[in-house]
C-alpha cells in the first residue's frame, strides 16, 4: 500500500486559515489501512479544526466525506455536485489523490492533509516500512526477493557496503541491512553462489530519472 502519515494540525491550520467553507475528504484505500486518512481521521481532523476556528471566533463550515478512492474518476465524481459549496478541500488521500482531485476540480484549492511517505507493508500494528520505490524494472528474482533499491540506503546493486554491521545499516542501527537480508535469503534458497554474479548497471530511465511515467495498455484501453 501507499503509506502516509498525518500532517500536524498546526500545519493544516496554517494552510486553511483564510477559508470559510472547507470540505475534508478521506480515502477508503491505503491511507485508511495505514490510519492516516480514512473516515476516522477525517472526523478527528474536522473536529479539531472546528474547535480551533470556533475558539478563534471564526465562523467556519467544515464538512466531512470519505470516498472509496481518490485516484479514480468515478469516485471523485461523487463530490461533483457539492464541490462548489466549498472554497477549499483538504484531501487526506496520498499525493496521487490530492493531485487527481485538483486536476478534476480545477478551480477549487485542494490541500494535502497527509504526508505521503512510501510504498510499504504493515510490519505490525502501527509500524509500516518501505518495500518498493517503483523503479519500473523489477529485479527481485535475482536478489532473493529483497529489493536493493528500496532497502539499501545506497541502493547498491552489488552490496553490501563496508558499513554493514551485525546485520544493520551504517546510517541507523535500528535499520536492517538490505544486503544482509538478500544474503540470508539467497542462503536459505540454496543460491548463495549467485552472490558472485555482478549485477549489471541499472537502466534508471524507467525510474524517476526518466521523467514522469505512464503505463498504457492498449489491450484494455477504451
Amino acid at each position: 500500500m501507499i503509506v502516509a502519515k498525518k500532517k500536524p494540525v498546526e500545519e493544516i491550520i496554517e494552510e486553511v486559515k483564510n477559508y470559510e467553507k472547507i470540505l475534508v475528504v478521506g480515502c477508503n484505500e491505503c491511507v485508511t489501512v495505514c490510519e492516516a486518512g480514512g473516515k476516522k481521521e477525517v472526523a478527528v481532523l474536522a473536529s479539531a479544526l472546528r474547535m480551533y476556528f470556533m475558539n478563534q471566533g471564526k465562523d467556519i463550515r467544515l464538512d466531512e466525506v470519505t470516498l472509496e478512492r481518490q485516484c479514480d474518476h468515478e469516485y471523485l465524481e461523487e463530490i461533483r455536485n457539492i464541490i462548489d459549496q466549498y472554497d477549499a478541500v483538504i484531501s487526506l488521500a496520498c499525493g496521487v489523490g490530492v493531485q487527481f482531485m485538483a486536476e478534476k476540480y480545477f478551480s477549487t484549492p485542494i490541500l494535502p492533509g497527509v504526508d505521503t511517505c512510501f510504498m510499504g507493508a504493515a510490519e505490525e500494528r502501527g509500524v509500516w516500512s518501505e518495500r518498493c520505490q517503483g523503479c519500473g524494472h523489477c529485479i527481485l528474482a535475482r536478489t532473493g526477493g529483497i529489493c536493493p533499491v528500496s532497502r539499501c540506503a545506497k541502493r547498491l546493486f552489488n552490496g553490501p557496503c563496508g558499513g554493514s554491521t551485525k546485520g544493520h545499516c551504517e546510517i541507523d542501527k535500528d535499520l536492517v541491512c538490505g544486503w544482509q537480508l538478500i544474503i540470508d535469503r539467497l542462503k536459505e534458497l540454496g543460491r548463495l553462489e549467485d552472490y558472485e554474479i555482478i549485477a549489471p548497471i541499472k537502466d534508471w530511465s524507467t525510474e524517476r530519472a526518466g521523467g514522469p511515467r505512464k503505463v498504457v495498455r492498449e489491450d484494455v484501453r477504451q
Binding site: F157, S164, Q180, L192
Partner: protein, 311 residues
Amino acid sequence: MKTNTPSKLEKILKAGHMAVTSECGPPRGSDPEAITKKAEMIKNHVDAINITDNQTSVTRLCSLAACIRLKLMGLEPVLQMVVRDRNRIALQSDILGAASFDIYNILCLSGDHQQFGDNPQGQNVFDIDSMQLIQMVRLMRDEGKFLGGDDIERPPRMFVGAAANPFADPFEIRVPRLAKKIAAGAEFIQTQCIYNLDKFELWLKQARDRGLHERVFILAGVTPFKSAGMAKYMKNRVPGMDVPDEVVKRMSGVPKEKQAEEGIKICVESIQRLKEVEGVSGFHIMAIEWEEKVPEIVERAGLYPRPSVED
C-alpha cells in the same frame, strides 16, 4: 614485466616490492598549501598518495584538484572516487579530467552515506555502485569506450583499485565480495584499517584458498591511534570497524602523554607482522590528520628506503 598502465604503483607492485601508500584528506577550504604541505611531509616515504573524496560526506576541496596539485609536484596520486555524489556522466567526465593530467591510479568506492556529513539533507546519487565503477574504468581504459558505447579519444590509463573491508558483516561473503571486485576488474585493493589481525589473516587465508592473492595486489590498511579516546571512538562509533578490546586496553593502559607513541608502536608492530603474511603486497597508511608521523612509521617498520622504478 608487463604493466597495463604507466602507474608507478603498478610498477612497484609488479616488480615484487612491498608497496607503501598513504592518504591526504583535502582541506575544508581552497588553500593549496594544505595539500602540498601534507604531501611534502610524506613524499619520500610512500610510493603513491591517495586523495580522499569528501570523506565521511563532509564537503571538502575536490579529490581531482588535489590530485592535480600532487601531480604538479611530481608525485604519484591515487584519485579516490565515490559514487555517492556523481552520476555516470560526471564520473566519466572526471575520469577523463584526471586522465588529461596523467593521473594513473584510481580507487573506486561507494562513499559513506551523506547522513554522516555536513549535508545530511542532501540527495545522494548512487547511479552506479563501486563494483560497476571498477567495470566502467576498465571499459574506458581497456576498450577505449564510454559507457554509452562511443569511442574515447586518448582513453584514460589508470591502475584500478578498490577497497575491501574484511571486518564488515556478514563475514562469510567478505571473500566472495573480494572475488567479485577482482572479477569486475580491480587490480589492487586497499583494505579498511586493520586492528584485528587474526580476523584479517583468516580473511586473507580464505582469499588465498581461492587463489585471489595471485590475481590482485592487497595493500593492508593501517591507522595509528593518537590516543585511547580515538581507539574507543573507532571501536564504538565507526561503522564496519573492528577494534579488539585488548587493543583499546593497551592504549588505555599507558599514561596520556605516551599514548601517541603506543599508537605508533601498535601500528609498526602490525605492519611487521603482516609483512610476513602471504598475500600482503604492501601497506596503506592512513594517518588521519597525523601525516607527519608517516615517515617514522615507514622507517620503523623497515619499509624505508622506497624502491625506485624506471619511468
